[in-house]
Amino acid sequence: MAKSWCIFFIFWPTLALAVCWMAPAWGWWFPGDAASTLGARIDDLFYLILIIVSVVFVGTHVGLAYVLWRGSSFNEPKALFTHGSHNLEVIWTIVPSGILLFIALYQMDVWADYRVQSAFPPEAVRAPVAEVTARQFEWRIRYPAPGKTLQLTPQPDDLYTVNDLHIPVGRPVMIQLRSDDVQHSFFVPMLRVKQDAVPGLVIPIWFDSVRSDTYELLCAELCGWGHYKMKARVVAQSDANFKSYLAELHREQFDDGVPSAATESSEAAETASKSE
C-alpha cells in the first residue's frame, strides 16, 4: 500500500511535466510568438524562468519521491535521529538566493525599457499615435488630424473611432491611455502589452508590431458586468496604409457629402484649432 502511494505521488508531477511538454503542440500555449520586440524579450525571459523552475520542480519532486520511497521500506525499529545539518542549510539558502537575485536583476532592463519614461523610444514619444480611452464597455480612440500631433485635450479636428486602433507597423508607437469611468486594462496578448487604465491618470505606453497583422485587444481589469465583452482590435499596417486610413477617417468624419460644405467645415475646424 505504502509503495502505491509513492507511485501516486510520482505520477502527478510526471503527468504535469508531460502535459506541459505536449501543451504547445496541442495549442494550449501562447496564442502565437510575440509580435513585438519587447514581447519577444518577455517570452525569452519566460522561457529562461521556465527552464530554471522546471529544474527545481523536477529536483524537489525527485527528492520527495526518493525520501518517501525509502521511508516506505524502512525496516529498522527507529528512524534516523538527526536535527538537521548546518552545512546543508547554508547551501540551500545561498544557492537559491543567488538564482533568485540573478532572475531579478537580469530582467530589470526589460522592465525599464517598457515602463520607465526616460527610456521610451524618442520617436514614439514625439508623436503619440492616439489616445485610447476605456469606458464601460468599449474603447474610444482619438487620433490627431493628419499632420498634427496629439494634444492632451480634444481638438475639433481630432478623429474618433471605437474599438478599432490602427498603428503603423515596424516602429515604436506610443498611446496615451485613460479611463472615463472605472478601472480597465489595455491588454493585447499578441503584443504582450498590458496596462491598467486608471481614472484620473493619463498613462503613456509604448509598443511596436513587427509585422502587419490584426490583434485582439481586450480588457484585463474587472470593470463591471460587461467586462468580458470589451472586444476590440489593433491593426498594424504599413505607413502608407496607416496614412490613407487616417485620411479616410478624416473624409468620413468631416465630409457630409456636399463638397463645398466639407471643405468649409474642415477649414473652419482648422482655423479653430489654430486660433486656440
Partner: protein, 605 residues
C-alpha cells in the same frame, strides 16, 4: 504501552473543581477555548460547502456558457431561467472568493486550530482572555450575516456585490458604477469589517497567551512549529489589519451620502468623473490608494493563510515520520522571514497598475526574496522525511500533498514576480492557478490533514482512515485536474473574471479543456461530502481514541482526549523540545514526550 508520568498521576477529571456551567454556557456561548475552536472549525467547514457551490456556478458558466445550470441553477438563478447572467457571474466569483478567504481559510486556521491548539500545546488551561475569545467567534456571525445579506440583494432590483474580492474602486466606490455596487457593496464592506474585528480579537488573545501562559520549561525555542506559526500570524494580523479596516471605512464613506447631502468623501475617486450618468464626482482622491492599502493587508493575509498550516504540517510530518524536525531553528527563522518580507511585497499585485515603475523594481526584488524562505522550508520538510519511518496514513498523505502543491504554487509565483513576465500574466488564469495551488493545494490539504490528526483530541474518537483516504484521493486528483490546466489557460492569455471568454476567437479552442476542468471540479466538490460524513459521523461512531493515539510528543497529547475544562490534570512541566522522535535516550519506544522525565520510570508494561 502506557507511560507513567508525573503529570498523569492524577486521573481525576474534576481536579480543577470547575463548577458545571450549564448547557448554553458550556456548548454555545462557551468561553472554553476548545469549544470555541470546534465552533470555529464546524462553521468554516459548512462555509466551505457554500463557497464550493458558488465555485461550481462559476465553473459551469466557463464550461457551458449561457446554458441553464442543473440542480443549483433552478434555485440560485431562477429569475434568469436557471441561466447565469453576466451580473450573476461577477457576483458568483466575488462571493466565492469572499467566502473562501474570509469565512473559510482565515477562520479555520487561526480560529479553529489556533484556538484549540494554542493552550493545549503550550500547557495552559485556557486563553488569556476567554470572553474576548468567545466574542471573536460570535463576531463571525454578523460577518456571515452581512455577506449573506449582500448576496441576497441579488434577488431585488440591485445585483449582488460584483467588484471582486479585491473591490477596486472606482467600480466599488460609486454606487452607479455597476448593478452590484449599490447596497450590496455596502453590506459587503460591513461583512469585511466584522471579519476584521473578529480576527483582531483573536490576534490579541493569541499573542498574549503565547507570551504569558506557557507552561514551566516551555521556552520559546521549545515551542512546536504550530505555535510559532500562530504566534507570527497573530503579530502579522495585529499590524496589517488596521490598514484594511481603515481602508474599508474610507470606502464606506466614499459610498454613503452623509446627512442626506450628496457629500462623498472621494478618498478613492478622482474629481470630475461621470460614471453612468451619475453626478460628476467632486474632490480628488486616487484609486491606487485603495490598492496599496488593500494589498498591504491582503498580501500579509496570504501569510496569515499559510504560516499556521506550515507549522501544523511540520508537527504532523515529524510524528508520521518518527523523526525530529530537520532544522528547527531555520524553520522558525524562515517563518519569521516570510512574515517580515510579507510586509514589503504588496506592490507585486500592482505591477501593471500605473504606479511608479521604480516601485515595480523594488517590489520585484523583495518578492523574489520571499521565495527564498519558502524554498528553505521545502528543503527542510524533505529533509524531515529523509531517513524517516514513514506511516502512510491519511495525515501523512495530506502533508505530502501540501509540500508538493506548495512547490508548484511557489514556483509559479516566480514567473509572476518577474515584472516583465507579469505584464503578460497579470489578471489571467495563471494567477488563478497560482493562488489555488497555495490556498487550496497547500493550505486546505494541510487543514484536511490537521483535522484528521487532532480530531481524536477534539472528540475523543478517531476519524475513519478508509473514508479519509478516499476523500484524499478524490480531492487530490480532482484538484490537480481542475487547477493545473489553469496555468496553460493563463499562458494562452485567457483573462480571469470573464463571463464568456469564447467571445474572443483566440480563446475559442479552450472550451473543451474548460469542460474537462469543470467536470473534475464537480468530482472534487462531491468528494467534500465524504469529509463532512467522516467528520460528523466520527463524532458519534468513531473508534475511541486514547490520550496519545499517534505516539506524539506534544503537550496536547498529555491531556485526556477530549481534555476536560481546564485541560490538564496538573500543570505540565516541559523538559525538551517537541521533536525528540527516535531518540537514543530511550530504547523501548520511538518517542519522548515534552513532559517525560528521564529515565522513564520502570520499563512499563
Amino acid at each position: 504501552m502506557s507511560v507513567a508520568h508525573p503529570a498523569l498521576a492524577d486521573h481525576s477529571h474534576e481536579a480543577h473543581g470547575h463548577h458545571d456551567p450549564g448547557f448554553v454556557r458550556k456548548y454555545i456561548f462557551s468561553t472554553d477555548h476548545k469549544v470555541i475552536g470546534i465552533q470555529f472549525l464546524a462553521t468554516p467547514l459548512l462555509m466551505l460547502m457554500v463557497g464550493g457551490a458558488l465555485a461550481l456556478g462559476v465553473r459551469w458558466q466557463l464550461a457551458f456558457p449561457w446554458q441553464a445550470m442543473p440542480i443549483l441553477g433552478s434555485g440560485l438563478f431562477a429569475a434568469e431561467g436557471g441561466q447565469i447572467s453576466p451580473e450573476t457571474y461577477t457576483m458568483l466569483f466575488t462571493m466565492h472568493a469572499s467566502v473562501m478567504i474570509f469565512l473559510v481559510i482565515i477562520p479555520v486556521l487561526a480560529g479553529a486550530f489556533g484556538n484549540f491548539l494554542i493552550p493545549l500545546m503550550i500547557g495552559a488551561d485556557d486563553m488569556a482572555f476567554p470572553t474576548l475569545n468567545m466574542l471573536s467567534y460570535w463576531f463571525m456571525w454578523p460577518a456571515i450575516f452581512f455577506f449573506g445579506a449582500s448576496f441576497a440583494t441579488a434577488g431585488g432590483p440591485n445585483a449582488g456585490p460584483a467588484a471582486g474580492w479585491t473591490s477596486y474602486p472606482v467600480l466599488s466606490a460609486i454606487p452607479d458604477a455597476a448593478p452590484g455596487s449599490g447596497p450590496a457593496q455596502t453590506l459587503w464592506l460591513f461583512g469585511l469589517t466584522f471579519v476584521g474585528v473578529s480576527s483582531m480579537m483573536g490576534s490579541v488573545n493569541y499573542m498574549t497567551t503565547i507570551i504569558n501562559m506557557r507552561a514551566p520549561g516551555m521556552t520559546l525555542f521549545r515551542m512546536p512549529m504550530t505555535i510559532w506559526g500562530m504566534f507570527i500570524t497573530a503579530i502579522l494580523q495585529a499590524f496589517a489589519l488596521p490598514v484594511l479596516t481603515a481602508a474599508g471605512f474610507m470606502q464606506l464613506f466614499d459610498r454613503v451620502r452623509l446627512f442626506g447631502m450628496g457629500i462623498h468623501t472621494c478618498f478613492f475617486v478622482p474629481a470630475g468623473l461621470i460614471v453612468n450618468n451619475a453626478d460628476p464626482t467632486v474632490g480628488g482622491g486616487h484609486p491606487l490608494l485603495w490598492q496599496h492599502q488593500f494589498w498591504f493587508y491582503s498580501h500579509s493575509a496570504v501569510s496569515i493563510m499559510l504560516l499556521p498550516v506550515m507549522g501544523m504540517v511540520s508537527d504532523m510530518l515529524t510524528t508520521m515520520c518518527r523523526k525530529p524536525l530537520f532544522g528547527y531553528k531555520p524553520m522558525v527563522y524562515s517563518l519569521a522571514a516570510i512574515a517580515g518580507l510579507g510586509f514589503i511585497v504588496w506592490g507585486h499585485h500592482m505591477f501593471t497598475s500605473g504606479m511608479n515603475p521604480a516601485l515595480g523594481m523594488t517590489f520585484m526584488i523583495s518578492t523574489m526574496m520571499i521565495a527564498l524562505p519558502s524554498a528553505v522550508k521545502v528543503f527542510n520538510w524533505i529533509g524531515t522525511i529523509w531517513g524517516g519511518k514513514v506511516q502512510f496514513n491519511t495525515v501523512m498523505l495530506n502533508c505530502v500533498a501540501f509540500i508538493s502543491m506548495f512547490i508548484v504554487g511557489g514556483l509559479s509565483g516566480i514567473f509572476m514576480a518577474a515584472v516583465p513576465v507579469d505584464i503578460y500574466f497579470h489578471d489571467t488564469y495563471f494567477i488563478v492557478a497560482h493562488f489555488h495551488y497555495v490556498l487550496f493545494g497547500a493550505t486546505l490539504f494541510g487543514v484536511f490533514g490537521g483535522i484528521q490528526y487532532w480530531f481524536p483530541k477534539m472528540f475523543g474518537r478517531m476519524m475513519s482512515e478508509t473514508l479519509g483516504k478516499i476523500h484524499f484521493f478524490l480531492s487530490f486528483a480532482g484538484f490537480n485536474c481542475t487547477f493545473f490546466p489553469m496555468h496553460l489557460l493563463g499562458i494562452a492569455g485567457m483573462p480571469r473574471r470573464y463571463a464568456d471568454p469564447y467571445l474572443h476567437p483566440y480563446l475559442e479552442h479552450l472550451l473543451p479543456m474548460n469542460q474537462f476542468m469543470t467536470i473534475s471540479a464537480i468530482v472534487m466538490g462531491f468528494a467534500q461530502f465524504l469529509l463532512l460524513i467522516n467528520f460528523f459521523g466520527s463524532i458519534f461512531w468513531g473508534k475511541k481514541a486514547s490520550r496519545n493515539p499517534w505516539n506524539a510528543n506534544g503537550l496536547e497529547w498529555v491531556a485526556p482526549s477530549p481534555p476536560p475544562h481546564g485541560n490538564f490534570e496538573s500543570v505540565p512541566v516541559v523538559h525538551r523540545g517537541p521533536y525528540e522522535y527516535s531518540s537514543p535516550l530511550v530504547d523501548d519506544r520511538d518517542y519522548l514526550m515534552q513532559t517525560d522525565v528521564l529515565p522513564l520510570k520502570g520499563a512499563e508494561a
